[in-house]
């Protein structure tokens, strides 16, 4: 992982490959490691990303599409610096505040209150206690949790839980947002609220990378689409063009 100095690029990937071991639980043992050493047996690998080269520029709105297992979430995790690829180089503009929204409510503890969880989850996103405190009223308003914010989140409905998590991630207006299929949570009204909030962030200049199976949503929101298949970039270009090619390939045009 290297740092980009200035320029307009937020992320630059060069020849990035990620492989997972197809290992069972019992293979994660000293016994198995020694046996593999004696038998000179290498692990069986599954290549989730293969030789991926791409750039995301500041202010861009990029959608990542592809079938299940195409490597979309792995790509997002590489951008989020959660996965260190075995091959290739990843350059990240460290001056940008990147918030990965790979799942709603990461870091939430069931027995802690909404406020306490907001501070812990906020810290995970890189915000200080004071940052979260100053935004707490707006977070509570968006999440519609007035009167519940001091209750343990285990007493929340799934909608309340998702609203708090989403409000927390987006109210602080990150410079870069990485979103992995999190809009499937909550009711229709909540989804509309989320999309509206996302539109506002995007028009305000937040760089966004979305992973979604909702092609219409991506075409509507993104300037550019990246189509992945079996870990390789099949197409990377303007959203309507890539979407048309993707639909044609899937026979759904």
């Amino acid at each position: 992982m290297s740092t980009l100095n200035g320029g307009g690029d937020v992320f630059r990937l060069e020849g990035v490959s990620v492989s997972f071991r197809r290992n069972a639980i019992e293979e994660r043992s000293l016994k198995h490691a020694l046996a593999a050493l004696v038998k000179d047996r290498g692990p069986s690998l599954y290549r989730a990303l293969q030789d991926v080269t791409l750039t995301v520029r500041r202010g861009e709105h990029v959608g990542v599409i592809g079938r299940n297992g195409a490597g979309k979430s792995t790509l997002l995790r590489v951008l989020a610096r959660v996965i260190t690829p075995q091959e290739g180089r990843v350059y990240v503009d460290r001056s940008c505040h990147v918030v990965p929204l790979l799942e709603l409510g990461i870091g939430f503890q069931a027995d802690l209150s909404g406020v306490e969880n907001a501070h812990i989850a906020g810290a995970l996103m890189g915000y200080s206690y004071a940052d979260i405190d100053s935004k707490m009223e707006a977070i509570v308003d968006f999440a519609e949790l007035d009167g519940f914010i001091h209750e343990p989140v285990k007493n929340y409905s799934s909608g309340m839980y998702a609203r708090l998590a989403f409000a927390l991630a987006t109210d602080v207006e990150p410079e870069v947002l990485l979103v992995d299929e999190v809009f499937g949570v909550g009711d229709e009204f909540f989804m509309e609220k989320c999309v509206e909030r996302m539109r506002r962030l995007m028009s305000g200049g937040t760089t966004t990378v979305f992973v979604s199976h909702n092609l219409d949503f991506l075409v509507g929101q993104c300037d550019r689409l990246i189509w992945l298949d079996e870990g390789r970039v099949v197409s990377d270009g303007p959203a309507p063009v890539v979407a048309k090619a993707y639909r044609a390939a899937r026979g759904t045009s």
């Binding site: 994660r28 959660v82 810290a123 890189g126």
Partner: protein
Amino acid sequence: MDKASRRFTWLYAKSQLKLKYRYTALGFLWNLLEPGLFLGVLSFVFSVVNRMRIADYAVFLFSALVPWRYFEKVVTTCMDSIVQGDWLLKKLPVSPFALPVTRWIVASAEFGFSFLVVFVLFAVLKTQWTIHCLVLPLSAIPWSLLGLGLGLVCAALFTFFRDIRPVVQMGLMFAFFTAPILFKPDLFSGHSIQRAMIAWHPVTYLAALFQKPLYEGTWPSVLDWSVSFGVAAASLLAGFLLVRKSRGQFYFYL
């Protein structure tokens, strides 16, 4: 650790402590009674074995057993911290140090509570208090750093090899029973193999940091401090380097 991970570690450790006592009326009390009961039974049994007055033996025993239990708890709880933190490490770019360090902070706070129990018991058992007790906060530092260092080593190894837990537990048990914690070194004659083993045992010197001020009423020697801090620094360095070197690999083993 980056700033966000440090902030998270502190808040998460505080929340773990808070949760431990939030819903249990007797929670804090149990934390004091449990080590008290354990120490009481041990002192009764081993005072018979060591043919010592129970009050005298209890002071000797408690002085090193309490830091040992803290050290043991740090190592064993740190061991599975990275594996159990998969919910976090697979979703956010958090430093893998955050999880073992959280366990270390929680165990350290509980060690502080345990020492409160010891002081209450000592108020009953100990007849003479000396100025040497003032050194005890400093004595706890090498124990703490050694626990964290070995905890980091174990956390990294356990991520790759899930069957090392019994090996670590046996190692700790061996170290405990061969160190002068339950027995006094003068139980063995000057040239015996047991005496030589005690002299080469690093825990002997760590134990002395508590036994000398609390039980003997003397200052720990330069050798006690040197060996203790040397072993602690070496283990901390090993743990730090191992976790840092392996951090890119953890994701694939969680």
